[in-house]
């Protein structure tokens, strides 16, 4: 039973994802106005030759802060998982 449900979900998912190749064409994006702005003004506004960096650290700098925070979360989480427990530290009885 479970297998059939999983299979059905996959068929639906693959079918819905297939709408992506139908609608998008590789190499000719549909709308480009925001990125044209970056390429045209990014170099002068941020004084960086690398437009990707100017997007990453200037126009979308807050995302980059968020992504550093995600890495920080991962590091703190891994540290929390591999910590040494105190002598006799018990959390549960069951």
């Amino acid at each position: 039973m479970r297998r059939y449900i999983v299979a059905a979900i996959f068929v639906i998912l693959a079918a819905s994802l297939l709408s992506i190749p139908i609608s998008f064409s590789f190499g000719s994006p549909i709308a480009t106005d925001m990125d044209d702005y970056f390429i045209e003004y990014g170099q002068v506004q941020t004084a960086a030759n690398n437009i990707v960096t100017s997007v990453v650290f200037d126009y979308r700098g807050f995302d980059t802060l968020g992504e550093s925070v995600v890495l920080f979360c991962g590091v703190v989480g891994v540290g929390l998982l591999f910590r040494r427990l105190m002598e006799g530290e018990e959390y549960e009885d069951e």
Partner: protein, 524 residues
């Protein structure tokens, strides 16, 4: 001067304060536990103050727009860009402000609760770091007006939650619950990213307002809608995708469970934001509305029926949390189903949505309170098994009072806040479809029955010999629970005030897509 700067930058500070506090927390934690506790509580108080300040600003003078890195916070559209926002924009409207208030109040009471509760454990500076990151994640998720930024904060929230769910690493089950939660939420977040990629490819925009103004509702948009509803529905624990909820909620420390409730509601906020602000009337409102209603009804019924036979008190409450999420989906779904029809919307649509949104804030308060009382009981007696409890009412009187307040609120008994929001849902849904309303009432009665049973088996009965010298929960725990209980009672006594000043603007903000778009794009 300084106050002006704080008010002008409050949306950024709301996220920055918990972030800076979290970054410094590993250092502070090395000094001494007391200093760390003061640091964490101080950061949380500041965050809550900032949330209230920002909410006051939003409710008095309308949507606040904050553009990161522009020459002025309101300059979301650069003059030379041809009318499109190119930077990340925080758009805080009444709905976001409401969610921020929920996060602030619940977060503050939970942190007061946990500084007492987790004193005897290791790894606490990591615990508080991740806790503060969770707060930052919730605040960012509900404030942002940018889809990719939403995804980033969603990931911050899921990674920090996953680490905290596995906090009790001496038991394999906690790690197992964390794996379940984290695998599902990672896949959910990735699915959301596919949808964001689809929007980007179609409209070359990531800002919600821009995408909303360009929305065509093509085949791709329909696929993206389905992906978004599935992923966010899973993150908020609606029924066909609910199976992580009981495990994660029951295995996490109680304070984290209460925060996970808020986290799941931030996902619910995301779902509403997508449906109402991103698509609004371009989609077939009746169909999508009915999908959400069906999800809600399934959640209500399945949640409560699964809850009744549970023996683990937190697991039982987790199933009730699923069931209560159903009420929110039902109320807002009814509002969505009549979105295109102004007369029906005025007749009962707004009331249904207000009921659903009011239930979000009520649920965060009383469910947080219930999980905290369960945690206090576990803290004192060391078991969550209902069959082994009994007679605790003699020793833990305040905890019992708080539990009763929470239980009556979740069951929808006046004069507590659950009653106020459930009544709005019953009345309005009855005008939409009587059967749905009757189901909701039956579920509410079953909830009451279930909690009467729980109350009886925890607190009533003779004093058990093994719990003869159990003490009342420590004072900071009681203060944390007391804040939530006070809010539950206040909202229950004065629902009219809350609805008029908080809930109604939030519902209007959700329905009124044009106002959201023009707030960002300057009336374009």
């Amino acid at each position: 001067m300084i106050t002006d700067a704080i008010i002008a930058n409050s949306p950024a500070l709301l996220v920055m304060i918990p972030l800076i506090a979290a970054f410094a927390c590993p250092f502070i934690g090395r000094i001494s536990p007391a200093v760390r506790n003061i640091w964490v509580v101080g950061a949380m108080v500041l965050t809550a103050a900032m949330a209230l300040l920002l909410a006051g600003e939003v409710f008095s003078s309308g949507t606040v727009v904050y553009t990161f890195g522009a020459s002025a916070p309101g300059m979301s559209v650069p003059p030379d860009s041809g009318g499109i926002p190119v930077r990340i924009v925080f758009t805080v409207d009444a709905m976001s402000a409401l969610m921020q208030i929920i996060g602030a109040i619940t977060g503050l009471s939970i942190v007061l609760y946990s500084i007492a509760g987790d004193r005897r454990h290791t790894g606490l500076e990591s615990y508080y770091t991740l806790y503060l990151l969770m707060i930052a994640g919730v605040m960012g998720m509900v404030s942002t007006g940018d889809l990719f930024n939403f995804f980033v904060f969603l990931e911050i929230l899921s990674i920090s939650s996953a680490g905290l769910i596995a906090y009790r690493i001496d038991r394999g089950v906690a790690v197992e619950a964390a794996v379940k939660y984290f695998v599902l939420s990672t896949i959910g977040a990735m699915v959301i990213l596919v949808a964001i990629g689809i929007f980007y490819g179609e409209y070359d925009a990531l800002n919600i307002a821009v995408i909303a103004s360009r929305m065509q509702f093509t085949l791709l948009d329909q696929v993206a809608l389905v992906l978004m509803i599935a992923a966010l529905g899973m993150k908020c624990g609606a029924v066909p995708m609910h199976f992580w909820t009981p495990d994660a909620y029951s295995m996490a420390p109680s304070s984290i469970t209460a925060m996970l409730v808020v986290a799941s509601q931030a996902s619910l906020y995301g779902l509403f934001r997508v449906v109402f602000t991103l698509y609004n009337v371009t989609l077939n409102a009746a169909t999508v509305g009915w999908i959400i209603i069906v999800l809600g009804v399934l959640s209500m019924v399945v949640g409560v029926t699964m809850a009744i036979p549970q023996k683990d008190v937190k697991r039982l409450m987790a199933y009730h949390a699923i069931s209560q999420t159903g009420y929110m989906l039902l109320g807002v779904g009814v509002g969505l189903a009549v979105l295109g029809n102004q007369s029906l919307l005025d007749a009962f649509g707004y009331v249904a949505m207000e009921g659903g949104i009011f239930h979000i804030i009520n649920h965060a308060m009383y469910k947080g309170l219930l999980f905290l009382t369960a945690g206090a009981i576990f803290y004192r007696i060391g078991t969550r098994n209902l069959n082994r409890m009994g007679g605790l009412g003699h020793n833990m009187k305040y905890t019992m009072v708080f539990f009763v307040i929470g239980a009556l609120a979740i069951a929808g008994i006046p004069p507590f806040n659950g009653f106020a929001s459930k009544l709005m849902i019953y009345e309005s849904v009855f005008m939409f479809n009587p059967i749905l309303s009757i189901i909701a009432m039956v579920v509410s009665i079953l909830t009451l029955a279930s909690f009467v049973k729980v109350f009886h088996s925890i607190f009533m009965g003779p004093r058990l010999p093994e719990y003869a010298d159990v003490k009342e929960a420590p004072a900071p725990m009681l203060i944390g629970m007391g804040i939530l209980a006070a809010v539950v009672v206040l909202f229950g006594l004065f629902p009219g005030v809350v609805v008029d000043h908080l809930i109604e603007p939030a519902a209007q903000a959700l329905v009124n897509q044009g106002a959201y778009i023009s707030a960002v794009m300057g009336g374009a």
